[in-house]
């Protein structure tokens, strides 16, 4: 079954088609909201909200953009808006619990874990910009639209975020060495 056919069926409320779309895109949707939220419990709520929005909006999908892009934008907006409403800032500061990668990891596992940890330690604004730009590939104009800031602000936040991330990774790598864990650079 083609994706466009699946989308049409899902737009009609077909349970199996909706489930199929969920299976296909859930890892990507969850990953972006999880990183933006930096908290597993919040991420669950945000992902649910994102999917509700996606299913509601399915009849309006006209195929102007790729479906994966469209669904991804909805997930990002849902997470950002939910985060703005959230009053659990302190909760997000807690260490991120274990998460399950959607694909098998090889030798990069330590690096990936360290990257996730460093992302979670960034201040909200920096984290959102670096996730949207460096992880998700948004342009500064798109980030500006999503976050309600000027593209120039997005740029300066990105450079600060990269620099801070670099320092955090150095610290995490040093901690790993102290604990006898092999370093993977960065």
């Amino acid at each position: 079954m083609t994706e466009s056919h699946l989308i049409r069926q899902a737009a009609d409320g077909d349970a199996r088609a909706i489930r199929a779309l969920y299976e296909r895109y859930a890892p990507r949707v969850y990953a972006v909201v999880r990183r933006i939220a930096a908290d597993a419990d919040l991420a669950e709520d945000y992902a649910q909200e994102a999917w509700i929005r996606v299913i509601r909006a399915l009849p309006t999908f006209r195929g102007d953009a790729r479906f994966s892009t469209w669904i991804h934008r909805i997930a990002v907006n849902a997470a950002l808006q939910a985060l703005r409403r959230s009053e659990t800032r302190e909760k997000r500061r807690a260490a991120m619990p274990e998460q399950v990668p959607a694909v098998s990891r090889t030798g990069d596992v330590l690096l990936q874990d360290r990257l996730e940890d460093a992302l979670a330690l960034l201040p909200d604004g920096m984290r959102q910009v670096i996730i949207l730009h460096d992880v998700e590939g948004f342009t500064h104009e798109e980030i500006g639209d999503a976050l309600g800031v000027a593209p120039g602000t997005s740029k300066s936040q990105l450079f600060k975020a990269r620099a801070k991330m670099r320092n955090l990774l150095k610290t995490l790598a040093a901690d790993s060495k102290d604990e006898g864990v092999a370093s993977w650079g960065i």
């Binding site: 077909d14 969850y30 670099r166 990774l169 650079g185």
Partner: protein, 225 residues
């Protein structure tokens, strides 16, 4: 020129350096190495994998979608794989259901009047409508009609097998698999409309047919109608 600041180095990941910055990078191994590390960091971020949502995520979402009326179970035709087939095929499937209902109704009249069909003249099935206004009597009429329908069907396939041989009956394994599929669809339909007499009748017929097919297959005497 002193070392490049971390923010400047972060900018140089995806922007061209100024002439002074380029000259410094050529001369300063420390800054050049730091820029390389930032390139690696950015590449690694772009390669982060997706993350599996926690177990049970779909169940929660499904319940919420249902509560908001955003999720519907597919209808009987779609469950039978007919949701995407041409209209003529769906019509044909509808006719099959209609025909079974007609046969049921015909048997009901025949049994209700106590007048067995005149099979000798080929007019054994006469369409008609039950006129009873008593619920218990109507239910009994349905039961008797169902039995009459099944008997007629069994007789028909026996005659068909006698005329065309076993090759006309199809593969028993395939038939059982098809009946299992129909059974699953029937069970789902009854779950949605538990009090619907037609769906319950269809499910009961399918169950009976599956049992009979299994018995015939196990004795090597499959008779398909």
């Amino acid at each position: 020129m002193g070392h490049l600041t971390p923010e400047v180095l972060a900018r140089l990941v995806d922007h061209e350096p100024t002439r002074d910055e380029a000259r410094h990078l050529d001369e300063c191994a420390l800054c050049a190495e730091e820029l390389d590390e930032l390139h690696r960091q950015t590449d690694a971020l772009a390669s982060l994998p997706g993350l599996l949502p926690p177990p049970g995520d779909w169940d929660v979402l499904e319940a919420r979608l249902r509560s908001e009326g955003l999720l519907e179970d597919p209808g009987l035709f779609r469950r039978l794989g007919l949701g995407t087939t041409p209209e003529w095929m769906r019509t044909a499937a509808a006719l099959v259901l209609f025909a079974s209902g007609t046969a049921l109704g015909a048997g009901l009249v025949s049994a209700g009047n106590g007048l067995p069909g005149d099979t000798a003249s080929g007019r054994g099935v006469v369409a008609g409508v039950s006129t009873t206004d008593d619920l218990a009597t109507a239910a009994e009429e349905v039961r008797v009609a169902e039995q009459a329908y099944m008997d007629a069907l069994t007789n028909y396939r026996t005659l068909l097998a006698a005329r065309d041989g076993d090759e006309a009956l199809g593969d028993p394994g395939t038939r059982i698999a098809a009946l299992e599929y129909l059974l699953a669809a029937g069970q789902a339909a009854v779950r949605q409309a538990p009090a619907d007499p037609f769906l319950n009748g269809l499910l009961a017929s399918t169950l009976a047919e599956r049992e009979m097919t299994l018995r015939r297959a196990s004795t090597g005497n499959d008779l398909w109608f």
